[in-house]
Amino acid sequence: MIRINCPFCGERDHSEFGYGGDASIEYPALDASMDEWHDAIFLRENICGMQSETWHHVSGCRMWLIVERDTMTHQIKSVRPAHDANAAVLADLAAGDQS
C-alpha cells in the first residue's frame, strides 16, 4: 500500500487515488501533427528511480496531483497540485503560516 500525502486531504492510502500517467509529458496543441501526438501518447521512458507522475484523488477531493515517486522503492519525494494556481495558493498559505 503506497501512502500519498494529498495536499488538500492529508496522507491517504493509494486505493483512494487513481493513477494517471507520466507527468512530464507536454501534450501538443489540438491541431498539432500526428507525429507530435504519436510521440506524446505512445512514447514513454521506463524510468528506474524517481519519476514524476499524475495521480487523481478520485475518492477524496478529486484533485489531480503531481507525485514524485521512486519506482524502485515506492518512496514518495513530493506531492503537489497539478493545477499551478492551486499550487500557488497552497504555497501562499504555507508562507502565511510561517510568518
Partner: protein, 997 residues
C-alpha cells in the same frame, strides 16, 4: 509409554480440564494447552502423513514453523485443513483429525508411496508425464496429463478444504499508530514499553495467545517476574496489545497486514464476533522483534515422530508441563541446547548430549556434568531407527572432512539444534536481501532507509538479557526519530554464545543411502537437492522451483537454509555466494475468507439504486444489473415471459407511449465562462454555436482517436451546460474532464460537477409522449412542436411545482422526451406520468425493450463502443468536424484507422427469418467459416417491428462491401451456424420522420 504430563509446573490450569477429540477418539487436556501439547501429553505419536511419501509424522516443533503436526480442525462447512497443532489453542469439544491418509494417519495405505521413493524425486512429474509422448501429442496429450494429474494430486497433498460455502463472517479493519512492535518476546516487550513511555501510540502484536515469546518457555522465576511487570506497565501505558494476531506482511510506506484470529480458540462464538479480522495498519515506525527459529540438520529419517527441535522439548516441558520422552538424545552444534538439556534432565529424563563440536568450553562441560548428562563431543545423529516412532539412532563421529559411523543409542526422543535462523521474513517482504553472518551461521537483515528496525533474536542476538537491551535501544532510537526524548542503551551485537557454533547442515557417510529430509512439508530430500544440481539447476531460484523447496505452507521456515547450504556445497561455493530466495507475504497462511472480508454476495460490489427504485418494484419491475446499477429489465404482466413482456413494451411504446427509468445515465454540470470552449474541444462535432435551449448529440474521442463515449449536452445559458454520458462511462468521462481542466488546460475557466445522483430521469417515448408531457407540465403551451422542437431543451415545472428540465431527444426512434427532476421528486413525477400514460394504454418499459428499440434504430452503446472502435467504424464519421480541432483529431487519421476494410457497424438479420442468432457470434464469409472471421455480433433482439431477429455488429468494410454476399454467423461454442444478411444498421425509420414529427 514415553511422553508424560508432569504433576506440577507449566502454564496450564489443571483445574480446568478440556475434552477434545482426535480422529474421533475422546482425549483430555487443560486450559493453556496447545492442541499439540495435549496430543503429546496423551502420547499420540503419529499425527500426520507427509506430502509425497506418506511418511509418518509427529510433532516437530512448538511453534509457527511446525511441519509435522498439520491437522484438520472442525468438520462440515467449518472444516479447516493444514492447521498447525502447535499453534492451535485447545478448547472444549475441539474436533481434530489427521489428513492426507487413509484410513487414518496411523495405518495409511498411501505409505506404499515411500517404497517407490526413487520415482518421486525432484522433477518426477515433469520428466515422467510431460517431457515424453503421449504428452507432447498436442491436445490429446494434455488431456491424458490432466487425467494422470488428478490421480497424482490425490495421492500427494495435504488437507482438503470444505466444499460448502463458508458460514463464517470476516471483517476488514483499519488502524493507525506511531509504532508497530511485532512480537512480544523480551525485545518486543521492552521496545514497546520504551516507546509507549515517551507518549507514543503503540501497537504490540503477538501471534500467540500469551505475551512473552521465548520467556514463556523458560523455567526462571526472575524472568517470569520481569515478564509480568512489563505487561502490567504496557497495559498502564495504554499500549494496544493484540494477541492471536499475526503480522503476515510488511508493505510500502509503513503499511502492515495483520490477521487477528478472533474466535478460532472458542467453542462457541458470540453472534457479533467475526471469525477473523484482516487489519490494514499504517505505522510511522515498525520494530520487528519477531524472534528466531531453531533449525534442524539433515540426516537419515530425520523426520520420524519423536524428533523435534530442542526449543520444542523445552517449551513442552516448561510451558505445557509435558516431558516429551524418557530416554532423550539432544543433538546440537551450538551452546543453546545445553540449558534445555539440563532442565529436561532435572525433570527426570535420561539425557545423552551429542555436540558436533569436538571441543567446548568449561561452562558447557559444567552444565552437562551438573545435570548428569552424558556428553559426546564431536558427535551427531546419522540415522534414526524405529517405525513409526523413533527407537534409537546411529551416531556418527566427526572425522577430517566428514563423518563416520560410531555407535548406536536407544532413545524415544531426539531433540536437534542445528543453529538458529532469525525471522527475517518481514524485512524480506520489503525487498531487503538478508546478509549471511558466518560467525553466527545465519542470515541477518541489513539496515534500511525505511523506518523499520530489528531487535532481539530477529537481529541474531541470542541472550535474553541482551534481547531486553536491544529492545530498549531500538525503542529509544525510534522515540528520537519521532521527535521525542529517550536515553538509548548500547545496542548489543549479534551473537552471545560462549563457544562458536559449528555449522552442520547434513550428517552423511559416503556410500550410505538414507532419506534425509530438508523440507518436510514438501518431502524434499538432501538427494533431491544434489539431483537438481547434477541436472544443472545452479541458481537458488531455479533450485527452489525445481525441487519445490520452501514452497509449502511454511514458506521455507524450516528447510531453506539447509537446502541453500547443500546447494552451496554441491557448487563448491559459500552460502553468501549462492544467496537466498525471497520470502514473500504471507508469513503464515491467511484464509481466503479473511481476504474477502464482507465483500461477498450482494456486497461483492457496491449497488446503486435509482430514486425510483421502489416505484419501479411497486409497478412490477423485474430488475437486472447494468454496471453497478439496479435497473428495470422488464415489467411482466401476469403470466408473461420476458420475451412476451419486452415485445409488448416495444410495440406499445412505438404505437402509443412508454416510460423508462433512465436515471443511471451520467450527468455532469459543465459551468463557467469557458464551458463552450471545453465542450468544443472534447466533442468531435461543433459546440461553439449550440443555441441556448438546445441539446446536441456528441461523440468524445480519446487522445489516440478511438471513441470514448457519446451522449447529449444541453445548453441552459451562456455559461451553463448539462452533459449526459452513457451509464457505463459516467465516471470515466468525469475523471477525464477533471484531468483536462487541472492538467492540460489550466487556463480554461470551467467547473465540472457530477450531478448524476441529483437528477432522476425518465424517458417518455412514443407517438403519445407529447400528450403525456403536456398533461403533466404546469403550462402545456411549452410542449407544442413550435415551442419545443426536436433537440430542444426547456426548464419548466411539472404540476405540483416540481422543477423539471426536459429535452426532446430520442433513443428509441420515436417522438420522445427525457424529463429530469431533483431526485426526491422522482416518485411524484412517475406517479404523474404513469397516470397520464395509462390514459393512452401506455406502458412501463425496461432495459430489454430499450435495447430492442435502440438496435432497431442502430444506436450504439457500450457493447459497440468497446474502446477498439473509431468514429468511422461506428458509422458516425460525419459527426467529426473538419473545421475545428478536438481531442483525437490528429490520431483518428492514422493510416490503419482509415483502411477501407476495417470492421464497421452494420445491421444483421437471418436469411431464414425464423432463425435466431446470438450476440458474440463471429461473422464469416459463407465460403470460409474458420479463423478470426470478418467481424462479430455485439447485440441481438427479436424486433417486433420487423417480426424476426435482428442484430448489430461489425464486419470488415461495412454493409456496402457485403451486399448480396453470403455471410454466416458462426457460434462454435453454442454449435450454431446461421446464414445472415448484412444490412445498414439503421433498420427502423432511417429518415427519422417519427422522432422529428
Amino acid at each position: 509409554m514415553s511422553a508424560q504430563r508432569l504433576q506440577k509446573g507449566g502454564r496450564i490450569n489443571r483445574q480446568k480440564r478440556i475434552d477434545f477429540t482426535w480422529d474421533g477418539r475422546p482425549l483430555k487436556g487443560y486450559a493453556g494447552d496447545s492442541l499439540a501439547s495435549a496430543l503429546l501429553a496423551s502420547n499420540e505419536k503419529v499425527l500426520g502423513r507427509s506430502f509425497k511419501y506418506h511418511r509418518p509424522r509427529g510433532i516437530m516443533s512448538a511453534g509457527v514453523e511446525e511441519s509435522g503436526a498439520m491437522v484438520t480442525i472442525g468438520r462440515g462447512a467449518r472444516r479447516d485443513p493444514n492447521v498447525k497443532a502447535t499453534m492451535q489453542e485447545l478448547y472444549q469439544r475441539l474436533e481434530a483429525s489427521g489428513q492426507n491418509a487413509w484410513p487414518n494417519v496411523r495405518y495409511d495405505v498411501g505409505a506404499v508411496n515411500s517404497l517407490f521413493g526413487r520415482f518421486f524425486a525432484a522433477g518426477f512429474y515433469y520428466k515422467t508425464f510431460m517431457g515424453l509422448p503421449p504428452f507432447e501429442w498436442g491436445s490429446k496429450g494434455t488431456g491424458l496429463w490432466m487425467k494422470y494429474e488428478k490421480i497424482i494430486r490425490k495421492a500427494a497433498g495435504m488437507g482438503t478444504a470444505s466444499r460448502e460455502p463458508d458460514p463464517d463472517v470476516y471483517d476488514h479493519a483499519h488502524g493507525f499508530c506511531d509504532v508497530l512492535v511485532v512480537g512480544s518476546g523480551p525485545a518486543g516487550l521492552q521496545a514497546a514499553l520504551t516507546v509507549a513511555s515517551a507518549g507514543m501510540d503503540v501497537w504490540l502484536v503477538e501471534q500467540d495467545w500469551s505475551l512473552g515469546g521465548d520467556l514463556l518457555n523458560l523455567d526462571d522465576d526472575k524472568m517470569e517476574k520481569k515478564r509480568l511487570e512489563l505487561i502490567a506497565e504496557l497495559e498502564k501505558a495504554g499500549v494496544r496489545i493484540m494477541r492471536r494476531t499475526t503480522v503476515f506482511g510488511l508493505y510500502d510506506n509503513g503499511t502492515a497486514g495483520l490477521l487477528e484470529r478472533v474466535t478460532d480458540h472458542l467453542t462457541t462464538a458470540h453472534a457479533y464476533q467475526p471469525r477473523q479480522r484482516f487489519w490494514t495498519l499504517r505505522a510511522r515506525h515498525t520494530i520487528v522483534a519477531s524472534g528466531a527459529l531453531e533449525r534442524g540438520m539433515a540426516f537419515g529419517n530425520n523426520d520420524r515422530p519423536g524428533i523435534m527441535n530442542v526449543a520444542a522439548g523445552r517449551a513442552y516441558l516448561n510451558r505445557y508441563a509435558v516431558l516429551a520422552g524418557e530416554h532423550v538424545v539432544v543433538a546440537t552444534n551450538n551452546d543453546s541446547a545445553y540449558r534445555s538439556a539440563a532442565e529436561l534432565s532435572a525433570a527426570g529424563a535420561k539425557i545423552s548430549l551429542l555436540d558436533a563440536r569436538t571441543r567446548v568450553g568449561s561452562e558447557m562441560l559444567d552444565i552437562a556434568a551438573d545435570a548428569n548428562i552424558s556428553l559426546h563431543t564431536g558427535s551427531a545423529p546419522l540415522n534414526a531407527t524405529g517405525l513409526p516412532g523413533i527407537s534409537g539412532i546411529e551416531v556418527a563421529s566427526s572425522i577430517k572432512g566428514g563423518w563416520e559411523l560410531e555407535s548406536r543409542l536407544n532413545c524415544d526422543l531426539l531433540l536437534v539444534s542445528g543453529g538458529w535462523s532469525p525471522v527475517v521474513h518481514l524485512l524480506s517482504h520489503r525487498g531487503l536481501k538478508p546478509v549471511w553472518n558466518a560467525e553466527q551461521a545465519c542470515f541477518i537483515a541489513p539496515s534500511t532507509d525505511e523506518p523499520i528496525h530489528v531487535a532481539g533474536s530477529a537481529a541474531g542476538i541470542w541472550n535474553t538479557d541482551d534481547c531486553f537491551d536491544s529492545g530498549q535501544s531500538t525503542g529509544a532510537h525510534v522515540v528520537k526519530a519521532l521527535g521525542g526524548k529517550a536515553r538509548a542503551r548500547a545496542m548489543p551485537a549479534a551473537g552471545g554464545w560462549k563457544n562458536r557454533i559449528k555449522p552442520v547442515y547434513e550428517v552423511r557417510v559416503e556410500g550410505r543411502k538414507t532419506k534425509a529430509i530438508v523440507d518436510p512439508q514438501h518431502d524434499v530430500t538432501a538427494d533431491d537437492i544434489r539431483l537438481a544440481h547434477r541436472e544443472g539447476f545452479v541458481s537458488v531460484e531455479h533450485l527452489k522451483r525445481y525441487t519445490t523447496l520452501g514452497m509449502a505452507t511454511d514458506g521455507g521456515k524450516v528447510g531453506n537454509i539447509i537446502g541453500l547450504a547443500l546447494m552451496a556445497e554441491a557448487l563448491g561455493k559459500d552460502i553468501p555466494e549462492v544467496g537466498t530466495t525471497t520470502f514473500r507475504p504471507p508469513y503464515t497462511p491467511v484464509a481466503i475468507g479473511a481476504l474477502k472480508g464482507r465483500n461477498v454476495d450482494q456486497h461483492f460490489r457496491p449497488l446503486r439504486r435509482t430514486p425510483m427504485h421502489d416505484w419501479n418494484l411497486e409497478h412490477g419491475a423485474t430488475m437486472t444489473m447494468a454496471g453497478l446499477w439496479h435497473r428495470p429489465w422488464y415489467f411482466a404482466r401476469k403470466g408473461e415471459t420476458i420475451s412476451e413482456a419486452y415485445v409488448r413494451e416495444t410495440e406499445t411504446t412505438r404505437k402509443s407511449v412508454g416510460l423508462c427509468d433512465v436515471t443511471s445515465l451520467g450527468k455532469i454540470a459543465v459551468q463557467g465562462p469557458d464551458a463552450t470552449e471545453l465542450l468544443n474541444r472534447v466533442y468531435t462535432n461543433p459546440f461553439a454555436k449550440l443555441p441556448i435551449g438546445k441539446a446536441r448529440y456528441g461523440i468524445m474521442l480519446r487522445d489516440d482517436g478511438m471513441v470514448m463515449d457519446d451522449g447529449t449536452t444541453w445548453r441552459f445559458s451562456d455559461t451553463d451546460y448539462f452533459m449526459t454520458t452513457t451509464t457505463a462511462h459516467a465516471a470515466k468521462v468525469m475523471v477525464w474532464l477533471e484531468e483536462l481542466l487541472q492538467t492540460r488546460w489550466q487556463d480554461l475557466r470551467v467547473h465540472v460537477t457530477s450531478v448524476s445522483e441529483q437528477w432522476a430521469g425518465c424517458a417518455v417515448a412514443g407517438p403519445k409522449s407529447r400528450d403525456v408531457m403536456s398533461a403533466c407540465v404546469e403550462d402545456a403551451s411549452v410542449m407544442s412542436n413550435e415551442n419545443f422542437p426536436f433537440m430542444g431543451v426547456i426548464e419548466t415545472t411539472l404540476k405540483g411545482d416540481i422543477p423539471c428540465r426536459i429535452a426532446r431527444i430520442s433513443f428509441s426512434g420515436e417522438l420522445a422526451y427525457e424529463a429530469y427532476v431533483p431526485s426526491d421528486y422522482a416518485p411524484a413525477m412517475m406517479d404523474m406520468l404513469w397516470a397520464e400514460a395509462q390514459k393512452h394504454d401506455g406502458c412501463l418499459y425496461g432495459l430489454e425493450a430499450l435495447g430492442a428499440m435502440r438496435i432497431e434504430k442502430g444506436h450504439v452503446t457500450g457493447a459497440e463502443l468497446d474502446g477498439r472502435v473509431s468514429i468511422d467504424d461506428a458509422g458516425l464519421g460525419k459527426m467529426a468536424s473538419a473545421d475545428k480541432a478536438y481531442i483525437g483529431k490528429a490520431m483518428r487519421d492514422r493510416p490503419e484507422l482509415l483502411r477501407e476494410d476495417r470492421p464497421r457497424l452494420v445491421g444483421i438479420m437471418p436469411v431464414n427469418r425464423d432463425e435466431k442468432f446470438n450476440a458474440g457470434s463471429i461473422l464469416c464469409a459463407a465460403n470460409k467459416v474458420s479463423g478470426m472471421g470478418e467481424g462479430w455480433i455485439t447485440a441481438v433482439t427479436h424486433s417486433p417491428v420487423m417480426g424476426h431477429w435482428i442484430g448489430l455488429g461489425f464486419i470488415s468494410g461495412g454493409h456496402e462491401a457485403w451486399q448480396g454476399k453470403a455471410v454466416v454467423a458462426a457460434d462454435p461454442v453454442r454449435k450454431g451456424n446461421i446464414n445472415v444478411e448484412i444490412i445498414s444498421p439503421h433498420m427502423y425509420d432511417p429518415s427519422g420522420e417519427k422522432m422529428h414529427g
